[in-house]
């Protein structure tokens, strides 16, 4: 199909879709009370039933935890898919890999600057852990904290180069963490069975509100999710970084 014909076809379709959107705006513009019932029910149930202050985390990891299980597996499958696609291109195990940043590292920064960069890792990790573990109290949780933890690994790469990054990350180990995160989620879900309750039932003691131990399984699932998300993003980073490096002949 010629490009112009394609654009014409698309524009015709787009005008139609815009029209469809336009006639479907009614309930959104003039909302009725029923729209609010789910939100209201959850907002009032979260604190009363779960001692949790961040409602969104409660929805994610408790009320609609099964959705989150699915979402986690989308993440897992996408990460594994990217690894399959990128890893097979060349086998570079054990080789010294360098990129443009390495040249900068050779001449540019003094050890002091490198130390500064590395010193940033600690607060970053601490922040990530904080976000992962406080998901039931304040905005945050496994998904956000996991990505923050992964970005700590990025700093390691910036400071020390890919070879060190690779050795610290050690790809099989990270994959194991990734699987362990998924397994952790599934396992916490199974806890309910021990008490003869349905899957994903929150059977762990709920603790006191406003405290770190509140929320029961919400905190545990958040932790497992944090592990999986962190490992997933590190693996992606690893796969994409490796694409941009060339092996050097050792002299």
């Amino acid at each position: 199909m010629k490009r112009n014909w394609r654009i014409l076809l698309f524009v015709a379709g787009a005008v139609g879709i815009a029209f469809l959107f336009a006639i479907a705006a009614g309930p959104l513009i003039h909302p009725r009370d029923i729209r609010n019932q789910y939100a209201a029910a959850i907002n009032s149930a979260t604190f009363a039933e779960r001692n949790v202050t961040d409602t969104v985390s409660a929805v994610n990891f408790d009320f609609r935890g099964f959705d989150t299980l699915g979402e986690e597996f989308i993440l897992l499958v996408s990460v594994l898919g990217s690894l399959v696609l990128l890893r097979m291109i060349e086998d570079r195990k054990g080789k010294v890999l360098r990129d443009a940043l390495d040249e900068w590292r050779d001449v540019g920064p003094s050890d002091a600057i490198r130390l500064w960069i590395l010193a940033m890792i600690a607060p970053k990790v601490a922040f990530g852990i904080y976000i992962v573990t406080h998901g039931q109290l304040t905005p945050g949780g496994g998904f956000q904290g996991g990505v923050i933890l992964a970005s700590a690994a990025l700093i390691l790469y910036l400071g020390e180069g890919f070879t060190v990054f690779r050795d610290v990350i050690s790809h099989p180990a990270t994959e194991i963490v990734e699987g362990a995160g998924a397994l952790g989620f599934l396992f916490v879900g199974m806890l309910g069975w021990i008490w003869g309750r349905p899957y994903l039932t929150n059977v762990v003691p709920l603790g006191k509100a406003h405290e770190l131990t509140s929320g029961g399984t919400i905190a545990l699932i958040s932790l497992a999710t944090g592990l999986e998300v962190a490992a997933g993003f590190i693996l992606l980073l690893y796969a994409f970084l490796q694409e941009n490096l060339s092996p050097v002949e050792e002299t």
Partner: protein, 95 residues
């Protein structure tokens, strides 16, 4: 507050349009990262701190980094291909 909300919506539309219509590839990581930040701002002003945090860490840092690395990789491949093409051509010219 409501004006701020309308302004952020306008910003989202503008930056989204730029991302969709941008023909440049090299600049895309920057525009995507900007778009991600503006989305995060929108989540913030619409009382969605959880989503905003998620969007900041992913949309403004994680995703643009992947794009940057992918674009860099594509460029490297492009150069390799050109070099190969040049190498294929070179002997013919000598003849």
């Amino acid at each position: 507050m409501i004006y701020l909300q309308i302004v952020t919506l306008a910003l989202v539309v503008a930056s989204g349009t730029i991302v969709a219509l941008n023909r440049e590839v090299a600049g895309q990581p920057i525009t995507v990262s900007l778009f991600g930040l503006i989305l995060a701002l929108m989540f913030m002003v619409f009382q969605e701190p959880d989503v905003a945090l998620s969007q900041i860490v992913v949309g403004a840092v994680g995703l643009p980094l992947m794009i940057l690395l992918a674009v860099a990789k594509l460029r490297r491949d492009e150069q390799t291909m050109q070099r190969e093409k040049a190498r294929e051509k070179a002997p013919k010219e000598r003849e």
